[in-house]
């Protein structure tokens, strides 16, 4: 069985796990949650097997290299780390509601890798620039970092859900929120799957309406439903702390990722830093999370503000990962 086929099946396993986690959460069935955990674990094993099979296959093709060399392979590894870290968290805090948000993301990442046109899943030989021992170290550390930030993003979202409406909100804040969401929705539609700006802004409209529709529905839900949905979320304090711990993990690995990339760049091109768009965006991400850490540790920021910063940080992560392809100018990655 080929690695790509295994990985396609894993996409569905993660989807199923996500579906069961959501059912367990909404219908309050602990058994479903336990089944979901086992299915997610099966998916993780399948994901591991898929990566290993791909590794072996590349050697059979005579172009042997670690399976971390292109967008498809990095996305598959990204999903693997997300599920791995999630399962560790689930075990440590004994709460499986986060799974209702984390495993669907892993499923979407895998689906994006196999369905998006222009992401070839075939095993390709390494171009000379990628033939380096730093490749494995660089990709693994970066994606552990990205996955930790992705989960921190999920947990920040859950924190905001649990905290509910911010009572002091005025009209100006509401409009700002709406516009921010709109611009980000358009930007990321363009970055991720739409090849045209006008269409991206058009698509952002239903995304925003859908989002605010759900928010409106939840707000006007009878109070008992709302409690039924939210009461088994971890406490806001616990979510805040967990998100923060994930950001610490992510920041450490993002730093190691940038550093390994710099050392690699120095051995390949004779410079450790060149303000290439990809490098610059990884540094921007680093600045955003560094701001978050300083705001929290020395200015005592907690809760909502940290949650928003964590979301902005993750937006920077996604842009570093996908958005750089949109930017003008040559960058040296493809060429040599």
């Amino acid at each position: 069985m080929s690695g790509s086929l295994v990985l396609s099946i894993v996409t569905f396993i993660y989807g199923l796990a996500g579906f069961l986690y959501i059912c367990a959460w909404i219908f309050r069935k602990e058994l479903l949650g336990r089944v979901a955990t086992w299915i997610a674990l099966t998916g993780l094993v399948g994901n591991t097997v898929g990566i290993l099979v791909r590794w072996v296959e590349s050697y059979q093709l005579g172009i042997g290299h670690a399976p971390f060399s292109n967008l498809y392979e990095s996305l598959v590894f990204f999903a693997w780390v997300i599920v791995l870290i999630y399962l560790i968290i689930e075990r440590r805090i004994a709460n499986n509601i986060i799974g209702a948000f984390a495993t669907p993301i892993a499923c979407l990442v895998m689906a994006y890798a196999s369905l998006k046109p222009g992401i070839p899943s075939a095993i390709q030989p390494l171009i000379p620039a990628l033939k380096s021992n730093w490749l494995i170290a660089h990709v693994i550390t970066c994606f552990i970092g990205y996955a930790a930030f992705a989960l921190a993003f999920v947990i920040s979202g859950m924190y905001l859900m649990k905290k509910g409406r911010d009572d002091e909100q005025n009209l100006k804040a509401k409009i700002t929120k709406f516009l921010t969401l709109f611009v980000f929705a358009a930007l990321f539609s363009r970055v991720l799957f739409i090849s045209d700006w006008a269409l991206a802004f058009l698509v952002a409209v239903p995304i925003c309406l859908g989002f605010f529709g759900i928010v409106f529905l939840v707000r006007n839900m009878p109070a008992e439903f709302k409690t039924r949905l939210l009461d088994r979320f971890p406490e806001p304090r616990a979510l805040d702390e967990l998100g923060y711990q994930l950001i610490l993990l992510g920041f450490l690995f993002l730093s190691i990722g940038i550093i390994s990339g710099a050392v690699w760049a120095n051995s390949a091109w004779g410079r450790y830093w060149g303000w290439d768009p990809k490098e610059t965006w990884s540094l921007i991400t680093w600045f955003v999370y560094a701001t978050l850490l300083h705001a929290r540790l020395t200015r005592g920021w907690h809760g909502r503000r940290i949650a928003y910063l964590s979301m902005i940080g993750f937006a920077a992560v996604v842009f570093t990962y996908f958005g750089v392809n949109l930017l003008p100018g040559l960058h040296s990655y493809g060429s040599f």
Partner: protein, 459 residues
């Protein structure tokens, strides 16, 4: 403390300005947002391209703000310098204000502080005070570097402490950032960055700098003996390989094959495989047909090197290559011009067009020469760089990783086990603090309390 002279002192004013973490946040966010500009506008391109892309007014404005090379502009550098000053001043300020916590040889413990902790574990034991003291003290000594026992009004307390040094983690990270900037500065002052193209078989003594239009002489020569490019079946490049030799006063001193990711280093200067291109060939494959015997000889001829012909037909030497050679006023395309010297005869000029391999028959000599192939010839493009600051930067990298790990995942922990004699049983309270990750510390205290309680059952 409220000395009006110090308050007005300009040095203190500046110092106080830089001690603010608000400033750090403002600077980090400014660096993050302004950095975006340089990724939207391609950097360091031809001014003409910018002029065409943005039009006159915007071009003037962007040029004024240095947006075409913004990461080296005065204002971006200023932001970096401010951040550096901010990091240094903040670190010194915080270190001196918390020196009583940081620099302690024998830590002292404050019982009242532990008694006030809300999160604690309590249980009773029937063991004697002495038994408990022995067991607990060895338990604490194994887990905490410093420990001491103090008598209390109705019993005693065992204190333990470890990881005070981890408080230096954050300063390590800050130091690492400063090292990165110092390393970058050293590199930009004492280093250079350039490139050179060397044809196969040729050598170079100078390189072209990237930052300014200038040629730099090297005090040695570098020769490219060979360049090879190989491809996969898919057509994607597989490997670029240059065989290089370093020459000191014409004598080879170092030989190395370089590929991408594996440069040659000599005297602090590194040569990286960076590009390649083809040059007009200087070696051709010739078919020489002897009219005397009818035999065909296949020979390679290198430009300007006489080739001894078989059957004692003389020598032949390729002299030059013409893009469009002329014959009796007609353009016959690419051709090699050579000199044929028969034994004892006068040299004859021979024209060998690539398009017409039988062209030389027209000369009606006793041999016919035809060019049947060209040995491709390449030049290798080398990136040449010297960066004496790189080791400072690398030490910064290592310090940053170690520092982040310490700062994020290790903490200064203190624990107190108080044993109070309440007559029949001993009441035991376990409480502890950490400067970071308080929930983690609480879990740890719970675990320790549980273990201590188990000892109790065994006793």
């Amino acid at each position: 403390m409220s000395n009006p002279v110090t308050a007005a002192d300009p040095f203190s004013k500046i110092w106080n300005f830089f001690t603010s973490v608000k400033l750090t946040i403002v600077l980090l966010l400014s660096l993050a947002t302004t950095s975006i500009i340089g990724t939207l506008i391609p950097q360091n391109e031809d001014p003409q391209a910018y002029f065409q892309a943005f039009g006159g007014v915007l071009y003037q404005l962007f040029n004024l703000l240095d947006l075409f090379d913004m990461y080296h502009s005065w204002w971006f550098q200023l932001l970096i310098i401010l951040l550096t000053a901010n990091i240094i001043v903040c670190s010194i300020d915080r270190m001196s204000s918390s020196r009583r916590i940081l620099f302690v040889r024998n830590p002292s413990f404050n019982l009242a502080r532990f008694r006030n902790l809300k999160q604690r574990q309590e249980f009773a034991s029937e063991g004697t005070s002495q038994q408990l003291k022995d067991v607990y003290q060895t338990f604490i000594a194994r887990r905490f570097r410093h420990n001491q026992v103090e008598a209390t009004e109705n019993g005693f307390a065992i204190f333990g402490e470890k990881g005070r040094w981890t408080r230096f983690g954050v300063y390590t990270v800050h130091l690492s950032v400063v090292l990165l900037l110092i390393g970058g500065l050293i590199g930009s002052i004492f280093g250079f960055d350039g490139f050179v193209n060397i044809g196969e078989g040729e050598s170079a003594r100078s390189i072209r700098l990237r930052s300014k239009p200038q040629i730099m002489q090297l005090d040695f020569a570098i020769r490219c003996d060979d360049f090879d490019v190989s491809f996969y079946d898919t057509g994607a490049p597989k490997e670029f390989r240059s065989s290089l030799t370093i020459l000191e006063q014409g004598r080879p001193v170092l030989k190395k094959d370089i590929i991408v990711n594996d440069p040659l280093r000599y005297k602090g200067i590194s040569f990286y495989q960076s590009s390649y291109g083809s040059l007009p060939s200087n070696e051709v494959v010739l078919n020489i047909t002897s009219n005397n015997t009818g035999k065909v000889y296949k020979n390679n001829a290198v430009m300007n090197q006489p080739l001894q012909l078989a059957e004692n037909l003389g020598t032949f030497e390729i002299k030059e290559f013409l893009q469009s050679a002329k014959f009796k006023g007609h353009d016959i395309g690419e051709a090699y011009i050579g000199i044929l010297t028969p034994p004892g005869g006068e040299p004859i000029q021979v024209t060998l067009p690539l398009r017409f391999p039988t062209f030389d028959k027209m000369r009606k000599g006793n041999l016919v020469i035809a060019v049947v192939g060209q040995v491709p010839r390449f030049y290798t493009g080398l990136q040449v760089a010297k960066d004496p600051g790189v080791w400072v930067v690398y030490s910064g990298f290592i310090l940053m990783i170690i520092g982040c790990y310490i700062t994020f995942f290790m903490s200064h922990q203190q624990i107190c086990i108080e044993i109070a004699d309440t007559g029949k049983t001993r009441q035991i309270i376990v409480a502890g603090t950490a400067n970071k990750n308080k929930t983690g510390m609480q879990t740890k205290i719970d675990g320790i309390a549980e273990k201590l309680n188990q000892f109790n059952d065994m006793a």
